[in-house]
Symmetry: C2
Subunit: 347 residues, 2 copies
């Protein structure tokens, strides 16, 4: 089955509104940067690599969204846009990368027309590169999957988390494309259920066998031998930890306890190798996500309104729990201190 | 604040309808055994000790629910009721205990009036004993809690899981009653959110400080040192494992990894010491629990309708992960093989 891309340019920025899935497949049009900012904040688009493209397209959009009197006004406007876009999600480093790269390119232009052209071309290039590198990661990562494997995953690391194909789910797609028989067990991924809403939906569209569990069933499925490997994505990889969707750390501990390999799949732009876990701010999200079963539907209260909550969007898995990291340049094995810099060298 | 009991006799069986919480506090009247069977199956009443009382009151209700021509008809009817009630939930052993004990007592009667009297008296006794033993467990267990502790818990083990006071939450209540400052972190407990709907609600009613997290945040709160001890209930304790709400096994592994004590609180009727984990059937529940965010509200689909699910209601935590088991006769420490039989001896 052929899908449209998760985010693309069509006179403005268009994206699949992921808050509407699995109920309906709806395209959101962002004609202004403020529309895109809202879309990022409310998770209509999410997933680190998709955010890289969103940041890039956001810069392009800011160059097109209105008329400018002169080049300096335009440059000032896209610089401001870069700041606004950067503050939408604090944890995903790829977002900043997409913004910075497109901004830098655009600022080389010397006319309004040229800047617009450069920004859009760079954004399209970033989006194309994402698809390409996901397929490359897929073929590297597929080597880690054997015929008949059942893979446990969390959140959504598929087409919808990227421009197309996916990171961790991309590896599974590549393994299946090679003719391997692969099944997926997906954690629903509370509080926003990206696992049940997006991953289960995506895999069913592709005819890939998937079993849905709640997050607290990850222990029992490993205990019962129902899982051979764990594959997850990443929002940021620092020297001592992998930041990813809340719940990833728990899966890593469970995997080690059950002697199940735990793999991370992420493009090299996810690495922030000069930082350590303690330097990274973990985004804490709204209480409504925990007290209503579906944030959109404020009828079904699943907790008392006045309860105190702790709602971090990500956690930090110590890097020594990770069996290997799949990137577009190859599979990085421990010791990471020694091996990661070799791969980052020619990013 | 004084609460009514979770289940009580008032001309018929009445119980707090827990599927309505935290939205409203509603009493469900069960005038026929079939009403009670439905209430147990759809979890209007749940929690192992509350089910013990429900089983007992169910036998009493069957003696009152209609007219009988003779004593033998009545005896036959309550025997049949015992079978029907026993098949409602396969995992909680306390349910069978409440049924069997009341049935045995009732069958001693030689007139319709006498049988009714004996059954109701025994059921009331079982309910009273539950409250008493919970308070006794509370004072034993409170010794394990220090002033200033933050306790992580799962599901609901409070007033609503028992006739009153609670098992694991009862221990916390007792510690607070003794003047200790205790905070609670509760996992929402998917898929039916007994943690967020019932435990958070109950603790707020009592003015006990509580923070709600999703189940997949248990790792991060331990990693951040936000939790001093874990206290959970149990549905059945066999020679090599503790059966409890799905997710308990994951918490036990996380607790060991973070060197946090992991305590089980359960009355002695929870022990089924002649059995092993492999002998116990784990109830698997309906798919709807995973694909709708709130089973009652079928508007909000959180997964594709055609997804395959695995939905076990319980898991088995190997008993060697348990730091101690709090009972109404005292705290049982390892080695359990040696120590548990001493406590069961005079049950």
């Amino acid at each position: 089955m052929n899908f449209m891309r998760t985010i693309f340019w069509d006179g403005c920025v268009k994206l699949i509104d992921q808050t509407k899935l699995p109920d309906k497949l709806e395209i959101l049009e962002c004609k202004k940067v403020e529309d895109l900012v809202r879309a990022i904040k409310n998770l209509s688009i999410r997933g680190a690599p998709a955010l890289e493209a969103a940041g890039a397209y956001g810069i392009a959009l800011s160059a097109f969204e209105k008329d400018f009197d002169n080049v300096e006004d335009l440059k000032e406007h896209i610089r401001q846009t870069a700041n606004i876009l950067s503050s939408t999600r604090p944890t995903a480093v790829n977002l900043f990368y997409g913004i910075e790269r497109t901004l830098k390119k655009a600022l080389q232009g010397e006319s309004i027309e040229k800047i617009r052209q450069l920004a859009l071309k760079e954004a399209e290039k970033i989006a194309d590169e994402d698809v390409e590198r996901n397929k490359t990661m897929g073929s590297y990562g597929a080597k880690l999957i054997e015929d008949g494997d059942t893979i446990l995953t969390i959140c959504n690391t598929g087409r919808l988390a990227t421009v197309d194909w996916g990171t961790a789910l991309g590896v599974i797609r590549s393994a299946i494309e090679e003719g391997k028989n692969v099944r997926v067990v997906v954690c629903e991924t509370r509080p926003l259920n990206q696992g049940s809403r997006l991953t289960a939906w995506e895999l069913i569209q592709d005819g890939i066998e998937v079993t849905l569990i709640t997050d607290n069933m990850a222990g029992i499925v490993m205990q019962k031998g129902m899982v051979d490997k764990v594959f997850v994505g990443a929002d940021r990889i620092v020297k001592d930890a992998v930041f990813n969707k809340i719940g990833t750390y728990t899966l890593a501990i469970l995997a080690r306890e059950h002697k199940i390999p735990f793999y991370v799949v992420a493009p090299l732009t996810t690495f922030d190798w000069n930082k350590r876990a303690k330097d990274i701010e973990i985004e804490e999200r709204d209480k409504d996500e925990l007290i209503y079963c579906h944030v959109k539907c404020k009828q079904s209260l699943i907790a008392p309104k006045d309860v105190e909550v702790f709602n971090p969007a990500f956690d930090a898995t110590p890097i020594n729990y990770v069996s290997a990291i799949v990137t577009e340049k190859g599979i990085i094995f421990p010791p990471y201190d020694e091996n990661v810099p070799k791969y980052l060298h020619n990013i």
